[in-house]
């Protein structure tokens, strides 16, 4: 097999490239003034609570260096917790403590660290080391999620999360991110986590990738990804779709964890979701985003008259030149934000969008 693919082939598959993502989607659809909510996990959390969207419990926040000294009091009756920068990017600066051993804390990888290390980490967070643009930041301490045991073997030393790309309120593509030993318990693909593409229609796995290469089983637990089916799938998609209105962002990555008791919970929002999800899904985003835009603007799609078969989209003549999308066809000019604000109410509109998404964005028979 060749080392490079031809750009024509990528275009035909509808693969979204980094430049097109930045100009055609993030720059075009996401208003900068709305980034604040997605970039700040504390704001995300309070907005989610206000809307009744479930989130992991917040133990406390550290805003100033002097508060670090009283960190131990804040944590004294907590066995397991997560410290993260509230404005971190790309999973940076997340410290996961799964338990205690005497004075020491146990990281998810099993490594013991002392309190000094925890303080140093918090101090770095406050100084803005892990944050976008190096701004001063605050550290937030969350309860460790008690994740659904069904997913237990799919992730090693860390919580798996599910990233859903939502475009104008329509869930477009999804991927479960499974921590591995080499990713140090973090569900970050850059750091070696496994991404498993999840079919929007069925919630079943499509394909798994690590370091952008296809794998069939988890490198540490050796479980086969073929059998994976995400529970509470409809509920999860509804949550993801609801976040779009809350964030006011048309092109959005929603990270969701599955709690054993409470089901899907919102972990964080991402205004600049990565592109690796395409490899895990073995499908391009660009065609799907086009269809999603139609779903979002044109309710007449419900009767299925304009789209014949789900599979035909990829070959559809109108979509063949993906570049025309960025040029701005009629649907793109629509009042995206006005639409978006109505999703979270769980109106018919939202459930219709999800139903259509499940119908069109599937490669598996239901």
């Amino acid at each position: 097999m060749s080392l490079l693919v031809s750009p024509l082939k990528l275009r035909e598959l509808g693969i979204l490239g980094m430049n097109n993502r930045n100009i055609g989607f993030i720059g075009r659809y996401n208003q900068r003034k709305n980034y604040g909510l997605a970039d700040n996990k504390l704001k995300t959390k309070s907005a989610a609570i206000a809307r009744g969207i479930p989130v992991p419990e917040l133990i406390g926040t550290v805003d100033y260096q002097f508060q670090i000294r009283s960190l131990s009091e804040l944590l004294q009756d907590r066995e397991a917790f997560v410290i993260k920068p509230s404005q971190g990017s790309g999973g940076k600066g997340i410290l996961v403590i799964v338990g205690r051993d005497g004075d020491k804390f146990i990281k998810s990888s099993g490594v013991l660290i002392d309190e000094r290390e925890v303080r140093r980490h918090s101090s770095n967070i406050l100084a803005g080391l892990h944050s976008l643009g190096g701004r001063n930041d605050s550290a937030m301490i969350e309860a460790l999620i008690d994740f659904d045991p069904i997913l237990k073997d799919y992730s090693y030393e860390g919580v798996p999360d599910i990233r859903v790309i939502v475009f104008r309120g329509v869930p477009v593509m999804a991927m479960m991110r499974c921590a591995t030993h080499s990713s140090d318990g973090k569900a970050n693909l850059h750091q070696g986590a496994v991404g498993v593409g999840i079919d929007i229609g069925t919630g079943k796995s499509i394909c798994a990738v690590q370091h952008n290469r296809i794998v069939s089983q988890h490198p540490d637990t050796h479980i086969n990804f073929d059998t994976l089916t995400i529970p509470h799938w409809q509920q999860l998609l509804e949550l993801a779709s609801g976040c779009a209105g809350m964030a006011g962002l048309d092109y959005l990555g929603v990270d969701i964890v599955l709690d054993r008791l409470r089901g899907p919970m919102l972990l964080e929002l991402n205004a600049r979701p990565g592109l690796a999800i395409q490899v895990a899904n073995q499908a391009g985003l660009e065609h799907r985003l086009l269809i999603a835009a139609k779903i979002a603007t044109d309710s007449s799609l419900a009767d299925g008259s304009s789209f014949a078969e789900g599979s035909s989209f990829a070959e559809g003549s109108a979509l063949a030149d993906g570049s025309s999308f960025a040029e701005g066809s009629s649907f793109a000019e629509g009042s995206a934000l006005a639409d978006g604000s109505s999703f979270a109410d769980g109106s018919d509109n939202a459930s219709q969008k999800i139903a259509l998404a499940r119908r069109y964005f599937t490669t598996q028979a239901t």
Binding site: R116, I214, Q278, V279
Partner: protein, 509 residues
């Protein structure tokens, strides 16, 4: 409202056309050459006078060269830390640099640096009245041997020129006759003195011609000597080491005639060495150095109208858009990961001062040792700002240590370490270190080599003669670059790296 894509297209087209148009106007109407044209070899000669002082006042006198035989001195520079310094102009067009000091406790090196180039192809030396040769005073047995040698060569030669050549050939021959061997021995193998004495004994006016054989990259070149002999009508030059006539191309004459070049009182173990570097510069630029003012004052649009110092600054500044274009191309079209968006430009600017290889070595050395020290700091649990400040100071100390050590070792090139931007290097170390802790050495290697690759490419672009010529003489081309960068800012196609990244998607069947 016009679509932003069309706007960008219009603005870019306008800018590109404006830049190219102005350039063409200047090239056609003002006759500014588009190509740098003919190159001149400009030599930088640095003389190093080293000595060990004795008690009492120190007085160092170095005779300075004058422009001779087509060579022209462009620029002179003296380093005289702690010494009183003066240049004494003597009427006979010979000037001497004098360093003085009341007392000195340690061995010292004094520097004199100049830039020379061959302005004219002719090698004429100014006329000089031949003196009457003074016969040397020799011991009786020396005298007898000398007489025999001179007599024998005179018999074999027809004139002074052939006499000189035969004498030099005799000395270079493998099997020399007894008389010459004896003479050389009595002169302590100083063949030059013996040649001059032999010529004097034969009644031929002759003197030494001292200078430097120019060889690029030599760091410890010493003075060498030619012999100038008067043939009766004119002076001819002979090389005692090759027994050839004529002035070699690469010989820069320091002093014509006898007398010491270096006079030292209050010191011993003196030595005079030269470091040589050759650069190719466009003839125009060389010319500009000499007569910039009248040559280019006519050009209203040109940077040449600014004072020389500002010209130098702009020469550097105008190269930055080229480097920015390289960064934009490498990141948007190729998709190279770099640590810090424009950090590679700053590194490339430093490379221009240090030259590429030395720059790479210094940069890797600084980052490497910085990372090593930083790994210790990370255990100290410092606040971020304090830690970066610490790294800045560590970097400065590293630079100082590197400079001092290299200076002591005689590796003067490493002294250019000061051109590296300290704060940027410190931040790079800090970022790399965090990257290492968070994502592992692999990612550090990717971003580090990405940054270096972009820096090297930007350096190559900026140090290109044509690019330098164009940006300096046609600054309006920056407008065209701006237009190109604006266009690239709207590029939505795939990056080269994505063709690799998504290869599995296209290959699945």
């Amino acid at each position: 409202m016009i679509n932003s894509r069309i706007q960008i297209g219009l603005i870019s087209g306008l800018l590109i056309a404006l830049g190219v148009g102005l350039t063409l106007y200047k090239a056609v109407n003002l006759n500014l050459p588009l190509l740098p044209g003919e190159y001149r070899e400009v030599w930088t000669v640095e003389s190093k006078t080293s000595f060990t002082p004795t008690d009492g006042p120190v007085n160092v006198a170095l005779r300075l060269p004058t422009s001779l035989a087509g060579w022209t001195i462009l620029d002179e520079h003296f380093v005289s830390s702690g010494f009183g310094f003066s240049i004494i102009e003597e009427p006979a067009t010979v000037s001497t640099a004098r360093w003085t000091r009341q007392s000195l406790g340690h061995p010292t090196t004094l520097y004199y640096k100049m830039q020379v180039y061959r302005a004219r192809a002719d090698r004429q030396l100014p006329p000089l009245e031949p003196g009457v040769p003074v016969k040397p005073l020799l011991e009786a047995d020396q005298q007898a041997a000398m007489d025999r040698v001179v007599q024998r060569i005179q018999q074999q030669s027809s004139d002074r020129e052939s006499f000189t050549l035969l004498l030099l050939q005799q000395l270079l021959r493998e099997s020399q006759d007894q008389d010459i061997l004896f003479l050389l021995n009595s002169y302590n193998d100083d063949s030059l003195a013996m040649i001059l004495h032999s010529l004097a004994s034969a009644g031929i006016p002759a003197h030494e011609l001292r200078g430097i054989e120019l060889e690029d990259g030599r760091r410890r070149q010493t003075l060498s000597s030619l012999i100038e002999v008067h043939s009766g009508e004119k002076w001819i030059i002979a090389n005692p080491t090759t027994a050839r006539l004529g002035l070699p191309d690469n010989f820069f004459i320091w002093q014509r005639g006898d007398g010491a070049i270096l006079n030292l009182s209050g010191g011993r173990n003196s030595s005079l060495e030269f470091a040589l570097v050759s650069n190719s510069l466009p003839a125009k630029a060389v010319l500009g150095m000499e007569q910039r003012a009248e040559e280019f004052a006519l050009l209203d649009f040109s940077i040449y109208t600014l004072p020389v110092e500002q010209q130098g600054i702009f020469k550097g500044l105008l190269l930055i858009p080229v480097a920015a274009l390289v960064v934009v191309i490498m990141r948007l079209l190729v998709g190279v990961k770099t640590s810090g968006t424009f950090m590679p430009i700053l590194i490339a600017l430093a490379f221009i001062q240090t030259t590429l290889l030395v720059g790479l070595i210094i940069f890797l050395g600084l980052i490497g040792s910085g990372l090593w020290i930083r790994s210790y700091l990370s255990r100290l649990n410092l606040l971020l700002v304090a830690r970066v400040a610490t790294v800045i100071i560590v970097v400065i100390l590293l630079m100082a240590a590197l400079a001092v050590a290299s200076y002591k070792l005689g590796l003067d090139q490493i002294l250019t370490v000061t051109f590296f931007p300290t704060v940027i290097v410190a931040w790079t170390i800090e970022r790399m270190s965090i990257l290492w802790e968070e994502e592992g050495g692999h990612e550090v290697l990717i971003q580090g080599s990405g940054s270096l690759l972009v820096a090297v490419l930007a350096y190559l672009a900026m140090s290109n003669n044509l690019v330098e010529h164009l940006t300096f003489n046609f600054p309006e081309l920056s407008l065209s670059l701006l237009g190109v960068i604006l266009l690239l800012g709207k590029y939505t196609g795939y990056r080269l790296s994505e063709l690799y990244r998504f290869r599995d998607l296209a290959n699945k069947e």
